[in-house]
Amino acid sequence: MSTAIRRFGRAAWPPLAFGVGFLAIWELLVRVFDIQPFVLPAPTAIWSAFTVRFSEVFDQTLVTGTNALVGLLIGTFMGVVMSLITVRFRLLEELVTPLAVALNAVPIVVIVPVLNNMLFGTTSQVPRRLMVALIVFFVVFVNVSKGLRQVSATHLELMRSYAASSSAILLKVRVPNALGYLFTSLRISAPLAVITAFVAEYFGGVQNGLATGVRSSLNGSKDVTWAYVIGASALGLTFYMISVGLERLQRGKQPADQFT
């Protein structure tokens, strides 16, 4: 255990040192050139704004974080279910997959205002969560589908020589094979979920969330704005670290050469 901590410490000190140095130079520049707070506040000023408004920033982080999490869960669930369905029914696959790939290339967040106006009104978080779910869905669907299909030919022949039914093949070969792909797609889509939840707030709707906080504080002193940026960074990092942790946990059972 202590060796693991030591190894972490060794890996962590260069970026930490860089971060501290960067903040120190920033602070120095602001003081030496007397830069005004509404242009660029000093790190110490941002930090004090952050501590003073901690509960406010925390609440808005929670709003955005909940949107991202709900969307992530729904999108992942739908992506997994949909890829399981399409692997069983060839025709559906030929119908859905090209559509999913094409739609994936469209910046879909821009329809949030349309959803706000037409369907849910401006007091609902649903359009934001829907956007997150949609984006996550594509990533999970494309990756998990690949995992369900790219199974070894020897494994398939072996199962067929046992007269295994296609549902047995699905359960014992395809699904276990796709598990790694699922966790990889989670690692990709978790930060994407936070970004989408954040961006969706820019397109109107309820007056809360981190992006709303950033936008409404832009008129005043920028240290408040930056306090929200701290919240956003912490949120993105949390999501990323949890998904990487999950992937590590799953990959612990795989051969080492599959690490990337």
Partner: protein, 269 residues
């Protein structure tokens, strides 16, 4: 039932990518009959269609023409009845299953209960001399050890027909000889029929009742050699005079097959 051949291949041809520039005549008009409890080896140069013939018998592919019967049934029915055990050129173990769980896979599919499965997989692990590796993952074993697990998996359910494609290729000489002896003994006890692909002439002679010699372009059977070393083979067999005579006979049949090819090639030009 007993007087039915275990494997009956009649006039089987296999053409891949027919009618395209990439057409391959993998097998042409092949006849093979294997009696129940018999051990038959397929030997021949690379690409002569040994694996293809094995896959035909296993119902993994269907012949372009001709027929394949197993235990008096169509190959399809035999497959549905789970008459087969297979070991491939690649071990084909599942990375996400422990070694023991890999061996238990065919038993799971046959609906055995958990205790019975565990007992059998331990028995098979003992057999391939990897008794304490059951809880390991396949990628923690060496290539040869993985191959032994794949063989254990093929044998686990005591299938009436065992199809093996160069299963001992990755093993060192001593393990190989040990596995050969064990395989013979298991087949003797369980009266298993085996069709066995190999590149090694001594291996074919030591294991088989009959050796089927094949040649390429198109893949066909050029010779069938009765070995007749009797059922009770042991280490002494390998030093027998009759053992060496049979090796010579198979080698000459193989060379004859290739010379035949060459002669035909000259005529074609």
């Amino acid at each position: 039932m007993t007087d039915q051949p275990a494997v009956n291949v009649r006039g089987a041809s296999m053409v891949f990518n027919a009618g395209t520039p990439g057409q391959v005549d993998a097998l042409s008009e092949v006849d093979v009959i294997v009696d129940p409890g018999e051990f038959v080896s397929l030997i021949g140069p690379s690409g002569c269609g040994k694996s293809t013939l094995l896959r035909l018998i296993a119902n993994l592919i269907e012949p372009t023409s001709g027929s394949v019967e197993v235990n008096g049934k169509s190959a399809k029915q035999a497959c549905a009845d789970q008459d087969y055990g297979m070991a491939f050129q690649q071990s084909g173990l599942f990375d996400w299953r422990s070694v023991a769980k890999n061996i238990e896979l065919p038993l799971e599919l046959k609906g055995w209960d958990k205790a019975k499965r565990a007992a059998r997989s331990q028995e098979m692990l003992d057999l391939v001399k990897l008794s304490d590796r059951g809880a390991h993952m396949p990628w923690q074993l060496s290539g040869g050890q993985q191959q032994r697990i794949a063989i254990a998996r093929a044998l686990a359910s005591h299938p009436p027909l065992l199809l093996m494609d160069e299963p001992f290729g990755a093993l060192d000489e001593m393990t190989r000889e040990h596995m050969q002896a064990e395989l013979l003994q298991i087949c003797e006890v369980t009266n298993t029929t085996v069709v066995f692909v190999t590149h090694s002439i001594p291996e074919a002679v030591y294991l088989s009742d009959r050796v089927v010699v094949m040649s390429a372009g198109p893949g066909r059977i050029t010779d069938v050699i009765d070995v007749g070393l009797g059922k009770n083979r042991d280490e002494g067999t390998r030093e027998n005079d009759s053992f060496y005579k049979k090796i010579t006979e198979v080698r000459e049949a193989l060379r004859g097959a290739e010379l035949g090819d060459g002669a035909r090639g000259i005529e074609d030009r």
